[in-house]
């Protein structure tokens, strides 16, 4: 009897002390840093890196206000990514989530912690997210999010210095389905490499956002 009770207690301790917690404290700390930013304005340069789209670099103004989606103002035509502009991680924490610690590693002298963010509510619009937290510099290095309806995407953050929480560059990687364009569209007698066209149904693409001149920071 005694060994059984001991085993049960040990198992309970193991389960409760396991890497699974409600919200990882490092993530909460980083989120608090991000939440402290109420608003800002910055200059934005957007580059589309998808191999069937040839678009020059576009510039505009990025306007962020907490509680609202980030806005981009521009005089040009611009393909604005739907993902990657959630600076405060509001979309991840919109519904209840739990986090699971996957690993911790060192990279370039910084301690990186990889955690999974898993929603516990059916209302959430993503199935799982993997965040790479830079524990040394208290900011997010990378995030991979699998949404329920909009596919998966990976975001890489680069920062201007050791302490800044606002990135200087965001690279958003995602999959783009082959565009089905009418062959008579805007290219009379265009020669089409049909084999190549068929083989490239799903393409990977990137959007590179360079953000500079942060101002009106509250």
């Amino acid at each position: 009897m005694r060994p059984i009770i001991t085993t049960l207690l040990l198992l309970t301790c193991l389960i409760t002390s396991a890497q699974q917690t409600e919200i990882d404290p490092d993530l909460l700390e980083i989120k608090q840093r991000l939440d402290s930013i109420k608003s800002f304005t910055a200059d934005l340069s957007l580059d589309v890196d998808i191999n069937f789209i040839n678009m020059p670099k576009k510039t505009g103004t990025l306007i962020y206000k907490k509680g609202s989606p980030a806005q981009i103002k521009t005089d040009d035509f611009m393909l604005v990514p739907k993902r990657g502009l959630d600076f405060s991680l509001e979309q991840l924490f919109e519904h209840p989530v739990i986090t699971v610690h996957r690993e911790t590693r060192m990279q370039d002298g910084d301690s990186l912690k990889v955690i999974n963010v898993i929603p516990t509510s059916d209302k959430s619009n993503f199935s799982i997210a993997e965040l790479t937290l830079n524990i040394t510099k208290k900011r997010i290095a990378e995030s991979k999010i699998s949404t329920l309806r909009d596919g998966s995407y990976t975001i890489f953050f680069s920062f201007p210095d050791r302490t800044s929480i606002l990135p200087k560059q965001i690279i958003i990687q995602f999959e783009v389905e082959r565009i089905k364009i009418p062959l008579s569209f805007l290219g009379k007698d265009v020669e089409i490499d049909r084999k190549l066209k068929r083989s490239e149904d799903i393409k990977k693409g990137s959007i590179i956002l360079d953000i500079t001149n942060y101002r009106d920071l509250l």
Partner: protein, 276 residues
Amino acid sequence: MIALLKMESFRLMRQSRTYFALAGVLLIEVVVLLSAYYQGNEVIDIVLSQLQESFYFKGTLVNGNLISYLILNSMWFHLPLILMIVVSGLLTSEYKDRTLLTAMMQPVSKVQYLLSKYVVGILFSLIIVLLLLLTSLGLSYAIFGKGDLVVLMGGLNFYEQPEALSRIVMAFIAGAFSMIFYSVTSLTLAVIFKDVTKTWIVSVLFIVISSLLMKIDFGSEILNNLFYFKLNQSWQLFFYPEIPWENIMLKTGLIVMYTILMGAVGLLIFKKKDIG
């Protein structure tokens, strides 16, 4: 020769068909502009709907540059037809009115006489293309404004305003060489057939057959680049991201040679032919 050129220019300006042709070009342009607007909206919607999963769109692609580009696409069948009718009329009307006999009684060289018609026909073609360029850009920008041009050429290519405008202008210039070829050909056909109706019918057939032959792949790059009907799409090459200048120069050079050849054939036949 200068006197002949002045006389032919005067004759062209006096022809009512010249003004009908100008009005026709403008009318076709307005119709094409309207249909291009609706076609442009429809096609842009189809293209962008597939990117909507990943992107929002700021700005609009249905602008003056896109409309001008769609006008470019549409005009290269209608414009040669109008030019061939007007330019061939420079000679067929003289056969019909028998003024050619009177002219040949004057101390004027047959070659110079016909050459002046070729020159005036070429100038008229250039004026029409210039008119089309100015009106299409003017109307398109006035109604739809400026913006990025999107073109499917080896991928989805976006060109910003200054670059889009320069590419469209260069495309018009390249297209002008093709129009000159058709004008010269129409005069040569007029030399051969003399009759107005026959010349018009053969001119239309020439355009239609050329359009059909253009789509045939001869299986050889040399043959595909050599025949004149393969050379009339060089204007499209200006919308590749990297403009293939060598290819454009080659095609333009060849179309100029074909034009000279057509003119030479016409002059030779006219010189040897008994006008009576």
